[in-house]
Every structure is written in C-alpha cells, then in structure tokens.
C-alpha cells in the first residue's frame, strides 16, 4: 500500500511519553502446551470493515489472537493484511467493527493509542534515523526531557534489561547505518518493547533478511512469546508461517477466509486458501536442452568505489536452453556481478561476452542490450522502474530509442501505449491501465511490468535478479513459468536469488557465491539445501570438498 509508508513516518515521530520498560508479570508458559484458541485473547477484532473508495479492503473481518502466541497473517499482496494491521495500529480507522485488546473494547485513532494499549509495530521499511546511535533511535519520540542526558541513561539501563531478558543484544552506542539489516530490525523490535509493547506486529519482517538472519529473528520471536508477548506476523512466505507460527489466518481479497492451527495444516493447504485455487509450489519443468554458449564471463573482477573487490576473478558460462542459478547470501557480490554483466558498472578486469561479442570495458547497458541481453534488476523500484512514470512509460525503459516507438526525435506516445497494452494483456498486469502511475501497482504487478518489458524484447541472454522478491504467490508461479518458457525457447537465463527454494526449483546448474568468488558448482539433483547453505556460508568443509574434486 503506497500511502502506508508515506503516512507512517510522521506518525511514528509522534510517539508518546516515555512508556518505559514494563516488567513482564505473566509467568512464562510453554505456549505449545496450551491450545492457543482456548487461552485468553490478546486481540479480538469483530466485524472490521474498511473501504478506500471503490476498493473494499477489509470485508467484515473477525480475528482472534490468543495471548502468548505467534499468529501469522498470510495473503497475497492486496489481500488486505496491511490495511487490517494499519487499523489495529491506528493509521486508519475502520468504517465499522470493534477492536478488543485483552478483552476490553478499545478505540484506536492513532499510533499513540495503539502504543498506549501495548501494541507495537515493526515496519517492513525500518523507521530508523540512519546516522543516530541505537540509543538515540530507541529514545526518539520518548526523550523524556529537553536535555537528553537523563533519557539516554534510562534507555541504556532499560536496553540492558531487555537484551538480558530476550537475548536481543545490540551495541547501544553503535550508529544504526553501520549495523547489518538484521540488527537494525532488532533495534526496531527494541523500540517497540521499550515503549511497553505486549503485542508486536511485524510486517513482512524477513523481506530484507538473509536466511540466517531470518532464523535468528524466529528464535527471538519464540523467546518473546515464551516470555509472554503476543506476536502478529504478516508475511506471504509460507515457509516462515510453518516455521514459527502457532496459528495462521489467511486473507483473500479483503476477507478472512480461514484460521488454521499451523501444526495441523500444510503449506499447500494454506496456499490454496490464499489464492482460492490449487497452486503449484514446485514449478514443473522438463529436462534442460543446453546448446551453444550465449553468455561467457571471463576472469571478471569488480571493484567498488572504496577500492574493495566485490567480485573476484569470476568465470562461468551460460548456454542457450539452460537456467544457471547463483545462490548466495545477499551482499556476497551477486549484485555487483549482475551490474557488471549488464554493463551498468565497468569491471576492473576481465570480460563479458554476449553472443560472441565482447562488452566494452567502460560498461554500457545500451550496448549490452544491443547484443541481446535483457536484465530484470534485483530492486525494481530502485533501478528497474521510475515509480512516478505512467505504466506505459516504464514499458519502454531501456528500449526508448527503438525505431518502432517513434522517429529520430519524437517519441510516439500512441505506439508506446499500444506496446504497453500488449504487455499488460500478455502478462496479465493488473489493473490493466497503462496510464496509471507505476507506484500505484502492487509489488507483484510492478515486477510483471519489468519482466514483461525485458522478455518482450526477446533477448538471447536474460539476467534475472531476485525475480520474486516482495511478490505474491500467484505472481511467483506466473513468473517462474515465464522463466522456464524462456529457457525452453532456447534462451540463456542467469538467475540470482537469495531464496534457495527458487534456486532449486528453477536452476539447471547452481553456482554458489561467497565473498565475491564462485565457491562451487552443483547440479540441483545431486545436492541439497544443506550443502549449498554451507557453501553459501563459506564453510571450509564444502569449499575444501570442492577443491578436492
């Protein structure tokens, strides 16, 4: 929801009086013993209804969240989960319906009200001031007095308590921008706990985390639950639901369609509820039929502006008719590799050969496209799209100089729009309106805009970075099918993803990157996630085994 992030920051800055740390009085019980629904309810929503103009975002939602449980809320993008949580956290007010917290009917008009009722939220996009220290961020909005010293000491003491109690260790004097994403998230959680949150809402918390960081987060969440907190986890990753929740509620098109006990359900059942039909979690694909080399990367080294080698002497080939997956923990040189191969960043040394032609050393994305390269970048909003453009304007980005959309000087707007309409139809981009601002499309549809654009140019080599990041299940299935279809049409596909499922599901060969180097190559049916995971982590055993081979 575009308005959501826009609105949330100022509200967050309005956080109330120093709520301080409140000792947890409830005796920790093993939540797994108790059937969650039979316990006292932390939150109950009755008949929540919300419309935004023509959109009926929440249709008479009932939800019961047991105390001391981790309750997952899943649904595709646009299913209404964020709206529901925003109502609970006071960003929006429901048109109808009641909210009960701890059995008491409450009215929540702002995030201040929510915090006063012990509801804290960890946003998908962190609300942290990058150049402040952890302490300064935690006390933001609850400074206590005009002079900061007293407040700072209090926060330091309370942070110590919190980290002892929940294992949430963070250096209180570290500058936030110097912390890893996982630790930054920890700061967000601490912020909420510091304000006395008993109920924590986490919105897509693992979107930015590496698998290890995600596991760590789950550990923390379990610990918080066992210490008496209630956790609402919004996600569309079924793996996480299965891994960490006690109960899961499924939303589809604004309605709450099911609440299931996680232990008694399966990913495919949840997926079916989410999409309203059977979904193929595993992509069906035939054996690959690789032919000649389409992309060759030779001894490629990429240096960043600080003089650090991010990609170190990497060589590999991708043949027509195969998908080569690059697995790796995010930040191990995959992004730089993609940028060098696509010509965005000039390599320090080495070369990129596309269709037999060597890309110039200065790096030129236009040249790479001419040679037959398509590139679905890792971060669509940062690189692949201009969010304030109309959809049709983005449908030609990178191909804006082609002859079929205008003359030497003039851009033929009608041709561009027709172009966009054809893509919208073929790739089922919704809503089917090429004049709509790109920012108003959901994440999955934005990704489809990029994928449609790159695939419709019929490239011989397709680079794909994180094709399904922040994309809902239905769209994931579609995108995966498209990638397989590209392969079967005899194209070379290089896939970079931090989702191991995706790497295993799509790749015909897997390269593992760690520390800027390719540490090994495996065939998906001759390895497993454990081995790849170890290689990704740079564990010597795996790399040693590779060297021994």
């Amino acid at each position: 929801m575009a308005g959501f992030t826009l609105w949330s920051r100022p509200f967050y800055l309005l956080c109330p009086k120093s709520a301080g740390y409140q000792a947890v009085t409830a005796t920790p019980t093993a939540a797994s013993d108790a059937t969650p629904t039979s316990g006292p309810l932390a939150i109950e929503l009755r008949g929540i209804d919300k419309r935004f103009g023509a959109v009926h975002a929440n249709k008479h939602i009932d939800l019961k969240v047991a105390r001391q449980s981790i309750h997952g809320i899943v649904g595709e993008n646009g299913a209404g989960k964020s709206t529901l949580m925003s109502i609970l956290y006071g960003f929006y007010e429901a048109d109808q319906g009641d909210i009960f917290v701890g059995g008491q009917k409450v009215s929540i008009h702002s995030s201040n009200d929510a915090i006063a009722h012990g509801i804290g939220m960890v946003h998908q996009h962190f609300m942290l001031v990058d150049n402040f220290t952890v302490i300064e961020n935690v006390m933001l909005g609850a400074e206590g007095a005009a002079m900061l010293q007293a407040g700072r000491e209090k926060v330091r003491k309370d942070l110590k308590h919190l980290s002892d109690e929940y294992g949430l260790t963070v250096d209180p004097d570290a500058i936030v921008s110097e912390l890893s994403v996982g630790l930054q998230q920890r700061v967000e959680i601490l912020k909420a706990l510091y304000r006395g949150a008993e109920i924590l809402i986490l919105d897509e918390p693992t979107g930015v985390l590496t698998p290890e960081e995600a596991d760590n987060l789950f550990k923390i969440l379990r610990q918080l639950r066992d210490q008496g907190k209630t956790i609402l986890l919004i996600t569309h990753k079924l793996r996480e639901i299965m891994a960490v929740t006690d109960e899961v509620s499924v939303m589809r098109r604004g309605a709450m369609v099911a609440t299931l006990q996680t232990a008694k359900t399966s990913p495919s059942e949840i997926a079916e509820q989410m999409v309203g039909r059977r979904v193929l979690l595993e992509v069906e694909k035939g054996p690959p039929n690789p032919t000649e080399t389409a992309l060759e990367v030779k001894n490629l080294t990429v240096r960043d502006k600080f003089g650090v080698d991010r990609v170190k002497n990497v060589s590999f080939v991708v043949r027509r008719g195969e998908i080569v997956g690059i697995a790796g923990v995010s930040g191990n040189g995959q992004s730089e590799l993609l940028e060098a191969v696509s010509g965005i960043v000039p390599p320090a040394s080495g070369s990129v050969v596309i269709n037999g032609q060597t890309l110039s050393h200065t790096g030129d994305p236009a040249e790479a496209r001419h040679m037959g390269l398509g590139h679905v970048p890792e971060d669509r909003l940062r690189m692949g799209l201009v969010k304030n453009f109309e959809e049709n304007e983005n449908s030609v980005l990178g191909y804006h100089d082609q002859d079929d959309i205008g003359g030497a000087v003039v851009l033929d707007v009608d041709a561009v729009r027709n172009h966009a309409k054809a893509q919208i139809e073929k790739y089922d981009i919704r809503p089917p309106n090429c004049r709509l601002k790109t920012a108003n499309f959901s994440g999955g549809n934005q990704q489809k805009i990029v994928i449609a654009r790159e695939m419709e140019q019929d490239p011989d080599v397709l680079l794909v970075g994180q094709p399904t990041r922040g994309v809902d299940i239905g769209a994931i299935e579609f995108i995966h099918k498209q990638l397989i279809a590209m392969r079967d049409a005899g194209k070379a596909v290089l896939l970079v993803s931090v989702e191991l499922d995706e790497i295993f599901g799509l790749s015909d060969r897997i390269l593992v990157m760690c520390g800027g180097e390719i540490v090994g190559e495996r065939l998906p049916d001759q390895t497993d996630e454990n081995e790849i995971g170890l290689m990704m982590a740079g564990i010597d055993g795996a790399a040693g085994a590779e060297a021994a081979e």
Binding site: G3, R51, G53, R382, L385, E393, L397, V410, V413
Partner: protein, 377 residues
C-alpha cells in the same frame, strides 16, 4: 482514483487559487496595518494590471520575461536539476542579442536580424548554463552553487563589456548605441487595436508570441520526445536512467544548455523589443521570478504561462498601486509578491492535507451511497 489523490482540476486549479487567496488575505492585513483599504488596493491593482490597454500591455510584457525564465527553470527541474542561474543566463544572452543587432541593424530589416539575434541570445544563455552543467556532470560541483556564482560572474562581465567595450565614445552611460530600425522587433499595437484597446506606452512586442510558442515547444520536448523522456527518467530516478543505458553526464549538460537557452530568449524581449540597446541590469530579477513561476506552475508549460501572467499582473498592478496609494511603498509591493511566492511556492502543501481529507470523505460517502442499494438486495 485511489485514496489520497486529487482530481487534476483540484491539483492544478483549486489548490493554487486557495494559496493565492491566502497570500492576498495576509497581504490585505498588511495593507490594513498601514491604514489603507485593502479592497480599494485590490481594485487598484486589478485595474492597473488588466483594466486598460497600456496596463495590460505592461502585464503581458512582464509575463513574457517570466514565461521564458519559468520554462528555463522547469526544463532543468524535469532533469532533476535546480537551475537558479536564469538571471545570469538571460543577462549574458543580452550580449549575444546586442552583438547581432549592432552588426546587422544598419543593413537588413528586423525580420532578418531577429532570428540571428534569437539564436545568438539562446546560444550565449545556453553556454552560460552549460558550464555549470559541465562542472556538475564531470566534476561534481553542485549546480545550485555554480549557477548562483555564475550570476555574479555574469554581472561583472556585462559591466566590463558595457563600460569598456560597448560604450559609445564620449558617452557617460554604460550602454551600447541605440539600434536602428533593423535591430528592433515590432510592438503588437495591432492586436490591442483589434480588441479596441490601446497599447499606449507599453512595449509589448512579438516576443510574447515567441514565449507562447516556446511554452508549447517545451511541452512537446518534455513529454513527446525521446530526449525529454530521458531527461524525465534522469530527474525521477537516476539509477534507473543508468540501468536503461542513458548517460546522465551528457543529459545534465544538454538539459542545462536548453534551460540556459530558454532563459536567454528573454533578452530578445528586453533588448530588441523594449530598450533598443544593451543596458546594465536589464534582466531586473526576472530570472529569479522564473523560479517562483515554475514552482507555482508545477513545472508544466500551461501552469507556467498562467503563473507568469499572475506575476506580470503583480508587477504591473503593484507599480500602479504604489503610484496611486503613496502610503503603500514599492517595498510593500515586493512584500506582497513575496507573500505570493511564499504561499504558492514554499507553502504549496499548506491546504493539501485538508483538501485530500475532504475528497476522501466525499468519495467514501459517494461509494457508500452507491453500494447501499446493492447491499439491500
């Protein structure tokens, strides 16, 4: 239309008008404070700006300058650049226009001089903006700093040229010789006479049409050309521009040159249309007013033409008001103009949240009204 968005007529019509009304309300309080009747002041101002041929002529003459400089700011703005050097670019462009006029005016009619003068002016202005553009693109010097510095350099350069090079021998005035007929562009008395008006002493000339043509040309350029597309991409998302194979340094230099060229065209109005010679400080702050005009006009040519007309009216009506109401000094007129800039530019978002809320509520209510019969079924 999704929540939080407004219909175009509200965005581009109602909100600017509300801002304007607020500016005049505060300005009215100032007028009351000095003991004059604000309604009378408004009447004087409106009459001065629109009420008779000569007044309206002057309004259009000012607006011509503001259209050029407003367009200049807008073009750079679409490429993500803040060109605040329109003043210096226009000023230096005057040199180009004057040189052409001094060379040709004795030999050819105006309609031969004018195109060359226009090109020279645009080229001089473009050069004056290209250099900061180059420094930004290749050396990373911030465009805001360099363009404002170039305003000072322009002022010094022009003073030198007028005092030491172009001054008539024996004359005390730092100005070039007055051009002959071949160096003057015609006034548009005929247009006023059509409507039964009289241009009087106003120097409104055909550069007004050039300004309107350029406004249309800028619209075509920004929204209908490949180069304009590249510039908008650069302005909105530089990373995406690189990804798409565009070359930001080149685009920055081109955008600045076009911006400077547009600012430079203003010199045609002043030098060939009004003064008939090159004089000191002829740009008279129009380069800076262009910033406010572009802001108020939302960097859209139609908005810019309207905003330029408003500021032209403020200039002309304000001068008239200062003349007729001695207690309202020229400085107070400037204060009123400042209020308009403040409310229309800097406080653009003042009324927006409230209006968005009203519209959302209206939409919700309408929606509920539409749904009610269905719900009953």
């Amino acid at each position: 239309m999704s929540r939080g968005e407004l219909p175009r007529w509200v965005d581009y019509g109602l909100i600017p008008l509300l801002n304007l009304a607020a500016a005049f309300l505060v300005a009215g309080l100032v007028v009351i404070a000095v003991g004059e009747n604000p309604l009378e002041a408004v009447e004087l101002m409106l009459f001065g700006a629109f009420g008779y041929g000569e007044g309206f002529g002057f309004t259009l003459y000012y607006a011509t300058n503001f259209i050029f400089t407003g367009l200049a700011v807008a073009v750079a703005f679409h490429a993500g650049l803040f060109n605040i050097g329109g003043e210096g670019q226009a000023y230096v462009a005057g040199l180009g226009v004057a040189i052409v006029c001094l060379l040709l005016d004795r030999f050819v009619p105006w309609w031969i001089t004018a195109p060359f003068a226009l090109m020279a002016g645009a080229a001089f202005g473009a050069f004056w903006a290209f250099v900061p553009g180059y420094l930004q693109a290749k050396r990373g010097s911030h465009i805001v700093i360099t363009t404002i510095m170039f305003n000072f350099i322009a002022a010094a350069l022009m003073t030198y040229m007028l005092v030491n090079v172009l001054r008539q021998p024996g004359s005390m005035a730092p100005e070039s010789r007055t051009f002959e007929e071949g160096g003057r562009i015609p006034r548009i008395d005929w247009l006023f006479e059509w409507f039964g008006g009289n241009l009087g002493g106003a120097q409104t000339n055909i550069s007004l049409f050039l300004a309107l043509i350029m406004a249309f040309a800028v619209w075509v350029f920004i929204w209908r050309t490949r180069l304009g597309y590249r510039m908008r991409t650069l302005g909105q998302n530089p990373t995406a521009a690189v990804y798409a194979g565009m070359r930001p340094p080149r685009l920055i230099m081109i955008a600045m040159a076009i911006s400077g060229g547009l600012a430079g065209m203003m010199a045609l109005n002043e030098i060939m249309g009004v003064h008939g010679r090159l004089i000191l400080e002829f740009a008279g702050g129009a380069g800076f007013v262009g910033i406010a005009v572009a802001l108020m006009g939302r960097a859209h040519p139609v908005g810019i033409v309207l905003a330029a007309l408003l500021f032209g009216a403020l200039y002309q009506g304000g001068a008239e008001l200062a003349f007729s109401m001695p207690s309202i000094t020229r400085d107070m007129i400037i204060a009123i103009q400042g209020l308009v800039i403040l409310f229309a530019g800097a406080l653009e978002g003042l009324f927006r949240p409230a209006i968005v809320r009203i519209f959302d509520a209206m939409r919700d209510a309408r929606k509920r009204g539409n749904d009610a019969p269905q719900a009953a079924e």
